[in-house]
């Protein structure tokens, strides 16, 4: 392996948005310096299993190909890391409650895991980003991840356009269209194709 390995955590929505467009999303690392390796949190499968609506909307998640992709790239904290994440979670929850930021416990757990292990989290959830910013936790937008993947040749520009169009078709843009366009311009240095 060349260079440093950079683990990146995906929140549930980031995985739902990218998982069946870039295949396999998780098992294939990309880049060389650093080499990026994407993971999802174990809670994703619990969330999926407990929701009829998610199972209907994202049927593909349950297909063998995707289950296998997630199986080996499920990020689980154990021992001291798990204890530290619980401590960090208490601070993040208190901050979100005090500032009346609407963010779920599962999302705060993802931020806590990222904080404890010093890993960036891919999320476009406004509440998560707000809590992360205030507490010095690194978050990436899905657009930033696409740009990294495109820069290192993991995907090409045609794939980026296909993904953006898919999000638009599914009415599942990671941000309102005007903000998405600004974000795209910021990272890709060109006008957003949608």
């Amino acid at each position: 392996m060349n260079g440093v390995r950079q683990v990146v955590l995906l929140d549930s929505n980031a995985y739902f948005r990218l998982g069946n467009s870039i295949r396999p999303l998780l098992q294939q690392p990309f880049g060389s310096s650093p080499q990026y390796s994407l993971y999802v949190l174990a809670e994703l499968d619990n969330e999926y299993a407990s929701s009829i609506r998610l199972r209907n909307k994202f049927e593909w998640l349950n297909e063998l190909e995707y289950r296998n992709d997630r199986r080996v790239k499920r990020y689980v904290l154990r021992g001291k890391d798990a204890k530290d994440a619980a401590t960090a979670f208490s601070f993040l929850r208190a901050y979100a409650d005090e500032h009346e930021i609407n963010v779920s416990p599962e999302d705060l757990k993802a931020l806590a895991a990222g904080f404890v292990k010093g890993l960036p989290i891919v999320t476009d959830d406004g509440g998560m980003v707000q809590v992360a910013d205030a507490n010095g936790i690194e978050c990436w937008s899905a657009v930033k991840l696409l740009r990294i993947m495109e820069t290192v040749g993991r995907i090409n520009m045609a794939k980026v356009v296909e993904i953006l169009e898919y999000w638009q078709y599914e009415n599942d843009l990671p941000a309102p269209l005007h903000r998405l366009r600004l974000l795209f311009k910021e990272y890709f240095g060109q006008d957003c194709p949608i």
Binding site: S12, E47, S50, S51, I52, R53, L54, K57, D84, A86, T87, A88, S90, F91, L92, R93, A94, Y95, D97, E98, E100, I101, N102, V103, S104, P105, E106, D107, F115, V116, D125, G126, G127, A134, N135, G136
Partner: protein
């Protein structure tokens, strides 16, 4: 419809560090103030000011301090709320760990509900009358139940309907929150939270419970709403006795007690109790307890209807055979969001989703709020939020 002014709700929390614990933890970690300052990349003066309560650390420094000292937020920070803590009605006898978790979750729900208060339809300026000195005494409870039945215009009505109970909740200005929590054990099927600062009562009722249990929990929560000052086990005992007295009052219990004594054998007695349960749409257990308590209060030798041999099995079988409220309301539960929202209004006359809808239209990320308040999955919360902002 006019709503309360959202700007009235201002949350203010005074925070200070738990200095003795910080100092103790510094010693355990082999650090002094300078060492802590170095680890946090701040000046020693900054740390000194935090410990003297002159300033308070920013969120990121606070988080890092907690990690260095191994202290959770609750241990590191002392908070004094300007708004009163929600009062949760909850029985203490449950398993301690479950109880603490349940209580903590319920208080958290109460804190979240404070944010919905400004969006409720304008409430009455007066608080509805509540009981002066409630106790669990049999005669007292029967008097209260009888008076409430009379106020509800049900003095001569043998069977209390769901709609009668709902009407009383409306009179008591309680906000019914119809929840879909799946199957739960006993006290997990209802939750009563009183918010002292807004004087509002929120009653969560699990639609996934059987209709007979649901009716009991409605009457039980009505008992809490009538006696909001009675908390802990005393409050639970009163609410249980009140529910029983309201749904199956002394006159019914006395008549049934006589009838049961005239019948020979456990099975026929249970069959007679089952007839009553079917007629009143309440549990066999509620009726059995009503008979027992009547006989005890009036000094009548207890009737054996198989309390130690078969009665509880009959209770379980009867309850299992009854549909859940969700099955009764929705043909194929779980319901679509629009059906769920509409039923809260039509079946329970609840302003809950109306308030939640207003909240969703003003707040970003309201699906997270719904996820936490209603205990539904994020996907369901998103679908519900989408319905409410239509």
């Amino acid at each position: 419809m006019t709503t309360m002014d959202p700007l009235v709700h201002v949350r203010s929390v005074q925070k200070t560090l738990n200095v003795p614990l910080v100092q103790d933890s510094l010693i355990k970690a082999g650090l002094n103030q300078s060492g802590l300052a170095e680890r946090l990349k701040v000046s020693r003066e900054a740390v000194s000011k935090w410990l003297a309560a002159e300033t308070f650390p920013s969120p990121d420094k606070l988080l890092r301090m907690g990690m260095i000292l191994g202290l959770s937020f609750e241990q590191l920070v002392t908070r004094s709320h300007s708004l009163a803590t929600p009062v949760v009605f909850f029985r203490k006898k449950a398993n301690r760990k479950t109880r603490d978790e349940h209580l903590e979750n319920a208080r958290e729900t109460g804190e979240l509900l404070k944010r919905l208060v400004p969006y409720l339809p304008k409430l009455e300026l007066t608080r509805p009358p509540v009981l002066k000195n409630p106790t669990g005494d049999y005669d007292y409870v029967q008097r209260v139940a009888s008076q409430v039945r009379e106020e509800m215009g049900l003095a001569d009505k043998p069977v209390i309907e769901f709609s009668d109970l709902i009407e009383k909740f409306v009179q008591l200005q309680a906000v019914i929150v119809p929840a879909l929590w799946g199957e739960r054990q006993h006290h997990g099927n209802a939750l009563n939270i009183f918010l002292p600062d807004s004087q509002t009562t929120w009653v969560f009722l699990n639609l996934d419970s059987s209709v007979v249990d649901f009716k009991f929990w409605m009457a039980h929560e009505l008992g809490h709403s009538l006696a909001p000052d009675l908390t802990n086990d005393d409050g639970e005992d009163f609410a249980d006795s009140f529910a029983q007295g309201l749904l199956y009052p002394e006159a019914h219990a006395a008549k049934l007690s006589n009838e049961l004594r005239a019948v020979h054998g456990i099975a026929p007695r249970i069959a007679r109790i089952r007839e009553e349960a079917t007629k009143h749409v309440i549990s066999l257990y509620t009726i059995g307890r009503a008979v027992e308590e009547y006989e005890k209060a009036r000094g009548i030798p207890p009737t054996d209807f198989g309390q130690k041999s078969g009665f509880m099995g009959a209770v379980t079988n009867f309850t299992k055979a009854c549909p859940t409220v969700a099955q009764h309301l929705f043909k194929n539960p779980p319901p679509e969001p629009a059906t769920y929202v509409a039923s809260a209004h039509s079946a329970f006359e609840s302003p809950f989703f109306e308030a939640l809808g207003r909240f969703c239209k003003r707040e970003q990320g309201s699906e997270h709020f719904i996820h936490r308040v209603l205990g539904v999955s994020m996907a369901d919360a998103k679908a519900l939020s989408g319905e409410l902002v239509k």
